[in-house]
């Protein structure tokens, strides 16, 4: 596994800071947010992509948009962590499954492009070159990852906003189970700390405006929560067929045992009011894993810190887990990382695996005033050492896609 996040330039550092209850939210530096309604985000500080460039990507790397850089870095670290040399495998046995979105166009570009279109007769248009080509993740991932790591097998680019990372892992799980690949590089990458993205979400009223207290802004399940905090980052997991992993003597961190996805189709940006649809994703994922709800100890919640999600998710967990719900440890690591959107599910999957490996549930920070509508055990403030045999990770998207992954401690 590999990751870059607001909590660190590696997954290990991210995990250490998460267990310590640190917040990665700061005032925005990627553009000047003076006067903006939202001036805070989870940025990846001091990220230096040049460390992750190799001869196969050197020529194009300067043109990689930031999300792709973050993704390629996470993938490089994941490959290293897995001790895998992809070139020893046949290309048809390695695939890629990523959650991503087309790079958003910045205000200055829109302004510049508009001049072309409106100030000339006939209107002129910008010339699209190799740089704009790489804005499309479906192109960029091949250039930055497939070429480098010999990934000639299944290729899924899932673009389902906040659920994309989880759904990308779900697609990878399927490809391995169906025998279509032995190894899948699966995850997500995103950097929505951009003018147009911050503005778009702010206009919807979805973002926290707690600009004076960035580290306390993301407060999932708190009565005083006022929206989510945008963040950037990437996480990639190496999923591998068990027999294949055994043959090469790989270290196994955990087993991916189930996946479920459902749709909330009654409102595009509001969470499922009664939690019915997210509950379906959890129930289907558990059924897919052949686990009873009572066998789960930890839930890495979607927990965005918006009014509607956290109440809806709480109801959904009650629906899916019934009488076992109060016994679950449920935490939202978005309280520390912010919301990595297309990468969120991937990072949270990696965190869930580490929770199982280290037998410790990361905390939900900033939960000083619990919302009575949110009545589960959210592991407030401090990480909690506890036995975790199996855990789930939830993601629910704008656009209605709900997805849940189930992980289990690996045993023969």
């Amino acid at each position: 596994m590999g990751a870059v996040s607001p909590l660190g330039l590696t997954l290990a550092e991210t995990w250490r800071n998460a267990l310590a209850g640190q917040s990665g939210i700061r005032r925005i530096t990627r553009f000047d947010p003076t006067g903006w309604p939202v001036q805070i985000a989870g940025e990846v500080p001091d990220f230096d992509f040049s460390r992750y460039v190799d001869p196969t990507t050197r020529e194009l790397a300067p043109l990689f948009p930031r999300p792709l850089q973050l993704g390629a870095a996470a993938a490089a670290m994941a490959i290293e962590d897995a001790g895998l040399d992809p070139h020893t495998l046949s290309p048809d046995r390695i695939g890629l499954s990523m959650g991503a979105l087309t790079q958003s166009t910045e205000i200055s570009e829109i302004e510049r492009w508009r001049v072309y279109a409106e100030e000339y007769d006939p209107p002129r248009y910008p010339v699209v070159d190799a740089e704009l080509d790489l804005w499309l993740p479906q192109v960029g991932i091949i250039r930055a990852m497939a070429n480098r790591w010999n990934c000639g097998g299944p290729y899924w680019i899932t673009s389902t906003a906040c659920a994309a990372g989880t759904m990308a892992l779900g697609a990878a799980l399927k490809s391995i189970r169906r025998g279509e690949a032995d190894v899948m590089l699966a995850g997500g990458f995103d950097s929505m700390v951009t003018e147009t993205s911050v503005l778009s979400f702010a206009l919807l009223g979805a973002l926290s405006t707690r600009n004076d207290a960035p580290q306390a802004a993301s407060r999932p399940f708190a009565r005083s929560r006022d929206g989510f905090v945008l963040a950037e980052g990437a996480a990639v997991l190496v999923l591998e067929d068990l027999e294949h992993a055994r043959r090469r003597g790989a270290r196994i961190e955990a087993e991916v045992v189930g996946y479920g996805a459902s749709m909330t189709s009654d409102h595009i940006t509001d969470a499922s009011a009664d939690g019915r649809h997210p509950a379906l994703a959890m129930q289907w994922a558990l059924a897919n894993a052949r686990l009873d709800p009572s066998q789960i100890q930890y839930v890495n919640a979607h927990g965005t810190s918006t009014r509607s999600n956290d109440a809806s998710e709480t109801r959904a967990i009650h629906k899916a887990f019934g009488t076992h719900a109060p016994r679950l440890a449920v935490s939202s690591t978005k309280s520390m990382t912010g919301h990595l959107v297309h990468a969120a599910g991937a990072l949270e999957a990696a965190i869930t695996v580490l929770a199982i490996r280290d037998q410790i549930a990361p905390p939900t920070i900033n939960l000083h005033d619990p919302d009575p509508q949110c009545d589960l055990d959210y592991v407030p403030h401090e990480a909690r050492p506890m036995p975790i045999d199996a855990a789930i990770s939830n993601s629910f998207a704008f656009g209605g896609n709900n997805a849940t992954l189930v992980f289990r401690r690996f045993s023969e």
Partner: protein
């Protein structure tokens, strides 16, 4: 590779199309064979300064007549209205409406190529934010401009919005896939839906894709990729797949949606079965700039799709080629077919509708799947338009005159896209009719 549950057979029970050549498989096939083509001057925007000024537009489509949900229509961009209407037609043909199925067992898989919200939404805000020098003043933008931006830009920018609109209309609650792609997305969506039904995650899936290349960004991008021709000859004859003088194609737009259904489920409710989806596979050429590696990937993905369909090259009766008509692309494709099918590649009639519809982007695979099913039902294979001098280095049985009266049981649909991804789908006539 067969999964344990692949005894669940997947059939097509609904078809919806919005293409430059029309909207029914029969009508489209006739017009592909007899013309006229859909090529015309670009009318959607002023393209006079672009190197490409002709396109295959969907001229007959009046969005307000086609999409009754006005609230959703206002939010639709980039061909989402084509997809929505195609879904409506497919569901209507399949005899399905909300309340008539278990929404938890019905899912959706959509291929798309989404680029963001309409920039025009920001223009008014930008105009209200100019300093004395006429330039954009950032502070003024935030203080005075932003309030003029419609909050809907976030919804327009969602890559999964098209999927949501359809799911909303049909109250779908089941499994779902929203796949970004440059060109293979239509086949990927059908493949993902096939697998979802085979694996018992759903009984019924809406699957398909939409795209529109008739905008400056897609045209500029695909002049860069070399997929669009900048030839100044007679526009109707520009797109000539597998021809010695091929130079690329013309931009187009469209969508296709299929209702895929588990066969028993379809039989129980007495649905009319239009065809069967038998197998799917995909592959990526790595490294992407290596043509031989790309041909390898094409060959590999055809072999895997045949294996997935449990069928041999001898059982394939027609090939629907990608036919992007670039020098390298057609070579890679022909080479891949040859590698996978051996000498049989010279016997199977191979054609493509591409030179009649234009470059329909991500929608192509879904459109061509439905047209291939129509070819199988009719026993008729129309020729590749504009193919005058077949490239001798591409040893396929390229169809140059309509073949009629054949007994075609199975078809192979191929897609390749920038920069090196490819996918293959094996389709068949309705199971009962095929006698197996």
């Amino acid at each position: 590779m067969n999964s344990p549950s692949s005894q669940r057979r997947v059939v097509v029970t609904g078809e919806g199309l919005v293409t430059p050549l029309g909207r029914t498989p029969a009508g489209i096939l006739d017009r592909w064979r007899d013309g006229p083509t859909a090529v015309g001057p670009i009318t959607r925007f002023d393209a006079r300064s672009l190197p490409v000024q002709f396109a295959c537009e969907v001229r007959y489509f009046e969005p307000r007549q086609e999409v009754r949900n006005r609230k959703l229509l206002r939010l639709m961009v980039g061909g989402e209205d084509f997809a929505f209407r195609s879904a409506t037609d497919a569901m209507t043909q399949a005899g399905l409406r909300p309340g008539g199925y278990d929404p938890q067992r019905v899912g959706i898989a959509l291929g798309c190529h989404k680029e963001g919200f309409r920039f025009q939404h920001l223009y008014e805000a930008l105009d209200a934010s100019r300093g004395a020098d006429g330039r954009l003043d950032r502070l003024r933008f935030i203080q005075q401009g932003v309030e003029r931006i419609p909050p809907q830009i976030i919804v327009e920018a969602l890559a999964n919005a098209g999927l949501y609109y359809i799911a909303h209309e049909y109250e779908l609650e089941g499994v779902n896939h929203n796949l970004l792609s440059v060109g293979t997305g239509g086949l990927l969506a059908i493949g993902a839906a096939l697998q979802s039904i085979q694996d018992d995650d759903a009984d019924l899936m809406l699957a398909g894709a939409f795209d529109s290349w008739v905008n400056w960004m897609c045209i500029s991008h695909n002049v860069f990729t070399g997929l669009l021709s900048i030839s100044q000859e007679r526009p109707e004859t520009i797109h000539r797949p597998f021809d010695l003088r091929r130079t690329g194609g013309l931009p187009a737009e469209g969508a296709a949606m299929l209702v895929l259904e588990e066969w028993e489920h379809a039989r129980r409710r007495g649905a009319v079965v239009l065809g069967e989806i038998l197998g799917f596979a995909m592959a990526t050429g790595v490294p992407s700039y290596d043509h031989a590696a790309c041909a390898d990937a094409m060959g590999r993905c055809i072999r895997l799709a045949l294996a997935d369909a449990d069928c041999t090259p001898a059982e394939i009766d027609v090939i629907h080629l990608n036919g992007e008509a670039t020098t390298a692309g057609d070579w890679i494709e022909a080479r891949g077919v040859r590698m996978a099918l051996g000498a049989r590649a010279e016997e199977i009639p191979a054609t493509t509708i591409r030179s009649a519809t234009g470059m329909t982007g991500v929608a192509t695979g879904a459109i061509e799947t439905l047209i291939t099913l129509e070819m199988l039902r009719r026993g008729e294979v129309p020729p590749i338009r504009n193919l005058e001098e077949p490239d001798p280095e591409l040893p396929l049985r390229l169809v140059r005159e309509t073949i009629r009266g054949g007994r075609f049981r199975r078809g192979l649909v191929l897609q390749r896209c920038w920069p090196s991804h490819c996918a293959a789908l094996v389709v068949g006539r309705p199971p009962a009719e095929a006698g197996d």
